[in-house]
Symmetry: D2
Subunit: 348 residues, 4 copies
């Protein structure tokens, strides 16, 4: 099947490569001509402009956007006037599903089809395949199945789930979920599911990170604490005398334990090459989905204490709690005469 790809960054270029390798025909475009050239050197057809891209595509066209969420609307403003009724626009980036619903209506008014695809897989996706969560009209999604099934990892990427199959409750025996792509519902449903996927991801990551931090400080009893009214002494230092090898611990957990996962595999790799993670400062970005997940939970009245704690830890890692902390220190000073204690070189 033929597909126009707009946006040849990290994700977009690799998806073109996977599609091409899988027998699909891609025409690639990016605002940076060098990005197009790189793929052309690999034998992929390229376009020099949006007009050129649209001109090269057979009707009805299918165009996939893989651009930062913040520039999707600007791209659509340029692209949509070039399209014709029946054409399909797919947003495979990290758009907020609110925007999908709006865009679906706007494009629908022009008889264009809008499909939102939450795409997980990261830099490993080119080889492993991408997990695709899809929202849009059922027949349109169906039409795009050759694309989805080529991008997806395929049935063999995981063991069969016991209990799935004809006649079991709760499952769709004809679902493509086993292949790694799923039509989740109408427009926005794909990015809604991807949003929550990423919200979960924040929670999982934080669980590992906190646990490893507890292990790292298992030697706390070896560091004397001062005796003053400001500091809580460690009551039983003999209980915290362990020097643990985090790289080995992450590695051992990869086999047979309840907490094995792909994220743990990555952690094991990071710690194997740099047990102190000295290349990182610990300012953790967030790209939106974690925020939106918590906002959705609040709208729904669903408690998400873990997911929000994970989100807020990222905010704090970037210094965004600083003023609140100064308020705390000011109160402590005012009611108890407590002065702030300076940082000690043993921190971290």
């Amino acid at each position: 099947m033929q597909l126009g790809m707009i946006g040849l960054g990290r994700m977009g270029a690799d998806m073109v490569r996977r599609l091409t390798k899988g027998g699909q025909q891609c025409i690639a475009y990016d605002v940076q001509p060098a990005a197009v050239d790189r793929l052309k050197q690999e034998g992929v057809a390229g376009a020099s402009s949006l007009d050129d891209l649209v001109a090269q595509l057979d009707k009805p066209r299918a165009v996939w956007l893989m651009v930062p969420a913040a520039v999707v609307d600007a791209t659509l403003d340029q692209l949509v006037p070039l399209l014709e009724p029946g054409d399909i626009v797919i947003d495979g980036g990290n758009s907020y599903y609110h925007d999908d619903i709006r865009r679906g209506q706007q494009l629908g008014a022009r008889q264009l089809h809008y499909v939102d695809v939450g795409t997980s897989g990261g830099v490993a996706g080119r080889e492993r395949g991408y997990c695709l969560m899809i929202g849009g009209e059922a027949d349109v999604v169906k039409r795009l199945e050759p694309i989805f099934s080529t991008l997806a990892p395929g049935v063999g990427a995981a063991e069969p789930t016991p209990g799935r199959g004809a006649g079991t409750s709760g499952t769709n025996s004809t679902s493509t979920a086993e292949q790694g792509f799923l039509h989740c519902g109408p427009q926005g449903a794909g990015h809604f599911v991807k949003m929550v996927h990423n919200g979960i991801e924040y929670g999982l990551m934080a669980a590992y990170a906190e646990g490893l931090n507890v292990l790292r400080h298992a030697d706390a009893g070896q560091h004397a604490r001062e005796v003053d009214a400001e500091t809580s002494p460690l009551r039983r230092p003999e209980l915290y005398q362990y020097d643990l090898n985090l790289a080995d611990i992450a590695e051992v957990w990869r086999r047979g334990s309840v907490i094995g996962s792909w994220l743990l595999d990555l952690i094991a790799g990071s710690l194997a090459s740099d047990a102190e993670l000295k290349n990182y400062t610990g300012r953790v970005s967030d790209s939106g989905e974690g925020r939106w997940t918590v906002a959705a939970a609040i709208d729904e009245g669903v408690p998400t204490p873990v997911l929000s704690a994970a989100l807020f830890a990222r905010f704090s890692s970037r210094g965004d709690a600083d003023f609140a902390n100064r308020v705390l220190s000011a109160m402590r000073h005012d009611f108890g005469g407590h002065a702030e204690k300076p940082a000690t070189p043993t921190g971290g």
Copy 2:
């Protein structure tokens, strides 16, 4: 190698089976004679009493306890007088590492060796192998390697971690971690690492559970909310009109996504057979390690907002927040004249 196993419950019996199948020689004992008989029918040697068990073991003996944490000390009180200098006692259950340190000293005073082993794997361990986190004296742990390597999943159970190997920083090139067992440090270190492992497990589980709950309520816009001063209306019901198939979503995430894991595999299985999870009421137990992990974090001064939120959600699931909630309702009544609203049948 020969091993005496005390405690033939869910875990202990399966470990005997895996050891036997792997060529190790077990002598099995349980306070319930029926449990011993079951294994005898499978060809395993059994003991009728602790004395009998000790008598059947070659010196220096190795005895593995696989009993509830709450009865370890009582078992040791009976077992220890029967042992002789040089014998090894292994506690493979979920003991608190504080107890390991104490027991190590107590047994050491009698020239007995104490080894603590955190064992992960659950009901799947018999087939998959068990992930073993070990604390104790290095030479004693070394002596037990035939047992550990038989119980562990083995190198092939996971892909090699890139970056591990001779000369890389942070890794122990001679580590057994790749086989699925690891000598973590002195007595208590095994259960300390297992404790944190389970603390992480609580966080991971809660992340999935909260996310699925957000997905489940993606249809919130279909349920009208009352208009009164007590209730926050859903401002944009058109954004919450999705009926999502959670079983399919869990399944699709198993392939290619960033949040794939063994726990997700289990969730996919549960939802495939009962999408509503009607067999559960949602009273979630906790068996101690999550509590101890947070307590250790507090001792160390390490923030664990996610792990503690996961722990407290379990407490709340059992009704332990009830009085606090009544206090909140009383305050709302007193300052605002707010009456409590009754439960509505749409909850859950």
Copy 3:
């Protein structure tokens, strides 16, 4: 000064009474004629319809809405066509500040002035006075000062704050804040500040409620726990043998302690009359501001772990974590063979 009051519920009627007592002239209206009649019997002028209300007011008019947030727009739809350029509409309820910004623009297009007032004080406000957080055009707010100063508690309601005064940094020496009302900024600023006020309120309430719950369970060591693999035994029951009198404790904290507050005064009263709070079931409502506060924090990138934990505890109190908890129980069953434990009669 003359003021039309629309909405004579709990808050609106008391505000009319306080204004009248303070020498302001109110004309009162409610969709329920009985509510108007009650105030008429107290000597307040009443209106039989919105038209009647508008007709009775001198120009330029000032009309205060004290209705549920969910019906403000519907009320404005009826009211606005009756008003004339220069008239002022005040929304004193719990509107979302997003709506204030929109309404300010809509009314401004008709040369009407819109003022948003966050009002705190609850049922005690009639006597204590109301704390007013105000957003709108500066000159319009200035014009309404007779109303605000009558509703507010006045300077004498609290001790002077040391450090406030001419020339000190950070303070507005001409601020009305000492009187209990404050022009916070342009339209929406009043409800923004009130929103955060209520967000803080959630956190404060939860802090007291959680602490009292810990005190209530200080007798945990008197209740035996079962010995099984599912339950974490209380390691040192001798440490939890206290039968504490919560009513007395709340009372003693009211004098001299760091945690004295008006909320604590209310708690002391509730516990004095019903130490078990048997009249409450613990289903805690939330009327929106806590949700909006956390949503604003997320937009701003500001961590609010405490305020969100307080919000989510309310959601959980209403059973909204149930499905998540069932997911947890299902996982525990699947990896560990753990069955759910039934509720015990000692809960709560």
Copy 4:
């Protein structure tokens, strides 16, 4: 009544002054002679050593320790051998109640009486009086009432609580709680209640601090955010255009609002003199009680999500989440190719 006071720091010296002013007879001792001299110049009797102190006291003696928790045991080691059966030792500092129980038994074996007193009031206590939470034998506590009632604020320090009085449920009509001191229960009960008091304090403080931080960032829409795949853009900057005066807002909340409190009074004072709190860096200490409160909650199985979030925010303020954050950044790099973003000068 006569009392020996050991420890003339911030708290101890002021308590001596309040007792002296209230007609009680104090003999003051401190390891720093200068501290004793200061009080002697104010007319208080001083002691030059523990022997001297004990010698000056009438039998049965009453000695109050007001020293850092970490040196209580060392002080008792010196003091106890000097005392005689029937003497009373009071620990008025911030001891862990576990230690009270142990010390009570140790002193009891020598027929000495041990009383633990949680003391709240801080630097303001000299004038306001101290809130005293007391554990110990009932008759011994009764004997000390002249001391307690002099230190406490007295009945007039707060309005009577409606509902307290003869015959009402849940209250002790003969309680001293209205005076500001309370015999909470046997040894340890005083510090247990004080521990939870401080745990609540952490939650209250964090609620204010987080809310003020949200207000401070209400101008977020004025700061442009970069458009890239790493950053979540602020969707509606027009909603965050408020420059709020936090000093005035804290001040207005002091009158009539639901969130009025002594802590808020302090915040208003801090912000009045330094709206930016430039004198603080935001490294917030914790002196133990918050940790112990959460640990007790965990032992009891009581959820304290708010109190623990407040505690962990303090840990994070001191950099103790750094390694966890580096783990997060490493994962983001490995699955998504995300590089850390450097700190921007707009932070804080």
